[in-house]
């Protein structure tokens, strides 16, 4: 269930992107922390599938479908939005590789059995599967995250960690942007559908509250300014859902637009979720102002969704780049 798109041949349920999206939204409506763990697990599985070879699928995917938890490490102290600044190094040493580096804010790392760590390798980059208990691995939980507080965010230090060479996915150096884009595309789909869940939870809570609580002799929903907030919340949920459905359809039909549609869905859904959650707090007012309330959690969690798996600004840059048509004039300026 945590990585439901893995096929039955590896012990998974083999859901398509659309069905997994609806599942992700269902979980995300209840708990964005659990949904974040799903995102990590699914992204780990997808990274193994995309960057690994068939033998590595057979080795690692059954572990991910049978209870082992996984986290995926991209961000570093000096490499957040600019992943090309990544310093984690995977170095050959006979039948082993040596992994050295630091990763920060890695979702689910506190719980993880396996760490899928991105780093440079043989002039390119790839990911390596590191058991969380390997000597030289130190995992330190982020003490007080703003949101998704049970998602097990942690910093990871890898001090000359030795793992078998066949844990290096693909066994070769790949172009870093391609390797990370491939993995992040799954994460973006999952976050986007999770944001749909946040919006559904906010809409349900807002509709329930504003149709039962009375002020000035009428239920809240009959006050026009309140009704407008409800309408906008409904539009936000529909808008995010449509963007996710479109991106999932691209994924499921193998459309070349899949990666860019995932960026679009993540951008739209996280923006709508952050605005929608703020609107829901406004509607519920003091009823939602205590920390554990579903709408209070949505408010904190949604803001993080505008940051994770590519900030809104990075998404905007990718989308802007996508609209640019290469011409003789710009061709030399656009970098691979």
């Amino acid at each position: 269930m945590l990585c439901a798109q893995v096929g039955p041949e590896h012990g998974g349920t083999g859901l398509d992107s659309r069905a997994n999206g609806e599942l992700t939204a269902r979980v995300g409506a209840r708990c964005s922390s659990l949904r974040s763990v799903m995102t990590s697990q699914g992204m780990a599985a997808w990274t193994v599938r995309r960057l690994g070879g068939p033998e590595q699928w057979d080795t690692f995917l059954p572990r991910l479908t049978s209870g082992d938890l996984a986290a995926v490490g991209f961000s570093e102290p000096g490499a957040g939005s600019d992943l090309s600044a990544m310093e984690t190094e995977i170095a050959d040493d006979g039948a082993q590789v040596v992994v050295t580096g630091r990763k920060v804010w890695i979702t689910a790392a506190h719980y993880a059995d396996l760490l899928v760590v991105f780093g440079t390798y043989r002039g390119g980059a790839t990911a390596v599967v590191v058991p969380a208990g390997a000597p030289g691995v130190r995992i330190t939980r982020v003490p007080n995250p703003l949101g998704c507080r049970a998602a097990g965010h942690a910093d990871i230090t890898l001090d000359a960690v030795r793992v078998p060479a066949d844990h290096v996915l693909g066994g070769t150096g790949l172009p870093l942007p391609l390797a990370t884009t491939a993995a992040l595309t799954y994460g973006r789909m999952s976050v986007a559908w999770g944001c749909v869940g946040i919006l559904r939870a906010c809409l349900d809570a807002a509709a329930a509250h504003t149709t039962t609580r009375e002020q000035s002799g009428r239920v809240l929903a009959e006050h026009q300014l309140v009704a407008r907030h409800l309408a906008e919340l409904y539009v936000a949920e529909r808008h995010a859902t449509r963007a996710c459905e479109h991106a999932s359809a691209s994924w499921d039909t193998g459309s070349p637009d899949m990666a860019v549609d995932a960026v679009h869905a993540k951008y739209v859904a996280s923006r709508e979720a952050a605005e929608g959650a703020a609107r829901a707090v406004q509607l519920l007012a003091s009823a939602a102002a205590s920390d554990g309330h579903v709408v209070a959690r949505a408010y904190r969690d949604a803001k993080l969704m505008e940051v994770i798996e590519g900030t809104s600004e990075i998404c905007q840059l990718i989308l802007a780049q996508h609209t640019r048509k290469p011409t003789q004039h710009t061709r030399r300026k656009v970098q691979a």
Binding site: L51, Q56, T172, P175, L178, T180, G254, P256, V263, P326
Partner: protein, 91 residues
């Protein structure tokens, strides 16, 4: 198993034509089979991903692991050779 076990049959010529058609549609320019797409600067990481997914769905192959190396996508000829090799290896 042979290449013909895949739905639709492809030769180097038909694969190259399809790749060139896709590139022209996406970049609004024509590409010689040996022109390096990446050194020309016309290709972003998103576009590289588009190429991967398009080749997979057009030719019914899985491109994973070491096959994602940049050299396999550098030219129309390189992509054609990879597609034909994968179609033979993945019956």
């Amino acid at each position: 198993m042979t290449i013909s076990s895949k739905p639709g049959s492809h030769t180097a010529e038909t694969v190259a034509q399809e790749v060139q058609r896709f590139l022209e549609q996406r970049t609004k320019q024509t590409w010689d089979p040996d022109t390096d797409l990446f050194s020309s600067g016309a290709v972003s990481s998103m576009f590289a991903m588009e190429l991967v997914v398009h080749l997979e769905s057009s030719f019914d192959v899985v491109i994973s692991g070491p096959d994602l190396a940049l050299d396999n996508f550098r030219t129309v000829n390189a992509m054609t050779a990879m597609v034909l090799r994968l179609r033979e290896a993945q019956p």
